[in-house]
């Protein structure tokens, strides 16, 4: 159990940037270094971690922890992967809140903000490139944009509606195939 915690603590402490960067590291640790799971099991877990809510890195940790040691394992692994960043942020944030109005810090962030914008825009572009590729997905993407920006619908509402749209479409296409037969 301790090894579970320590391994995920190490992963959580050493991975910077997007959570997706953490996944191959977890894979390496779990499959190669410790042999807790096979390659196939790990691939399965990662696939499920992508579709369950929450960051994929945390989900992967949770799942591996469960497979290894039940509910307690999942809690331990999750705590391990979350704790380092939790502690680091705590250490930084009170300092940041104190200095955020100093001219130097303000200037630094003024320079950083356009880059942050670029990062978010790039994330959107990356995902769009992979997911928006036919009439249906273009329509959903466009509708989602309209709903959230113009109608000011809550993103949760947009997500729910888009899931529904996907379900309805699959039902309609399957129905169509059934009738064609």
């Amino acid at each position: 159990m301790w090894k579970l915690f320590a391994t995920f603590f190490k992963v959580g402490a050493t991975t910077f940037g997007g959570g997706h960067a953490m996944v191959p590291i977890i894979h390496r640790e779990v499959v190669d270094a410790h042999g807790w799971l096979t390659n196939e099991e790990m691939v399965d877990i990662i696939a499920i971690a992508e579709i369950t809510p929450g960051p994929v890195a945390v989900n992967t940790a949770t799942f591996v922890g469960y497979k290894k040691a039940g509910v307690v394992g999942s809690v331990v692994a999750t705590a391990g992967v979350v704790l380092p960043s939790f502690l680091v942020i705590l250490a930084i944030v009170s300092f940041f809140l104190k200095v955020e109005n100093s001219p130097v810090v303000a200037a630094i962030f003024k320079g950083m903000r356009p880059t942050i914008l670029a990062l978010v825009a790039w994330a959107a572009a990356r995902i769009a490139k992979v997911t928006v590729k036919d009439g249906f997905t273009v329509a959903v993407c466009g509708a989602a944009l309209l709903l959230v920006l113009v109608v000011k619908l809550h993103p949760i509402g947009v997500i729910a509606l888009s899931a529904l749209a996907g379900l309805v479409r699959s039902m309609l296409t399957r129905k169509g195939e059934g009738e064609a037969q």
Partner: protein, 171 residues
């Protein structure tokens, strides 16, 4: 406040599909617009800090907001809130052996959700545009950064730190 932090981030954690960045539009709506716990500018800064610190960007943002609103207890509440939904869902799935992989209904729902997530993240970018690009220099930095991200393998963290240094120099 503690309860509100926990509840809000629980909701955010519950509906984040498709990667950590997908949490940003949700946090934007709940934390900046609805509860006004952060200004849009502060939100942008938090995202930046969350990007350069270890850990998933989504978790870091929760921790930060929680601390700002209610100290250590608040950060614990927010972080716990955002992590709990996925913990519960995954344990349920694993324990009950619910088949989610290659499940046609799940696939179908996600076929709709994925393009929507792209749109939502794009909307988050659009929403932070006025607060992040305030002058021509900023616009130049934004465009250059995007180009570098798009066409090179530059590390986002390096890019952020460089732009911070640039900011200190030109502002």
């Amino acid at each position: 406040m503690i309860f509100s932090l926990f509840g809000t981030f629980f909701l955010i954690g519950l509906f984040t599909f498709g990667g950590g960045y997908a949490m940003l539009p949700l946090i934007q709506k709940e934390v900046v617009v609805s509860h006004q716990w952060l200004t849009m500018t502060e939100f942008i800064d938090v995202v930046g800090i969350a990007e350069i610190t270890p850990g998933p960007i989504a978790i870091n943002t929760a921790t930060f907001v929680g601390y700002k609103m209610a100290g250590v207890l608040g950060s614990a509440a927010a972080t716990l809130g955002v992590v709990l939904p996925s913990l519960i869902v995954i344990v349920l799935i694993a324990a009950v052996f619910v088949k989610v992989r290659d499940n046609p209904y799940v696939e179908a729902a996600f076929s709709g959700m994925r393009p929507a997530v792209a749109a939502l993240i794009a909307s988050a970018a659009i929403n932070i545009l006025p607060s992040s690009v305030v002058d021509v220099k900023g616009a130049a930095i934004a465009v250059a950064s995007f180009a570098l991200l798009r066409f090179t393998k530059v590390s986002p963290i390096l890019l952020l730190l460089l732009s911070g240094v640039l900011g200190a120099l030109i502002y």
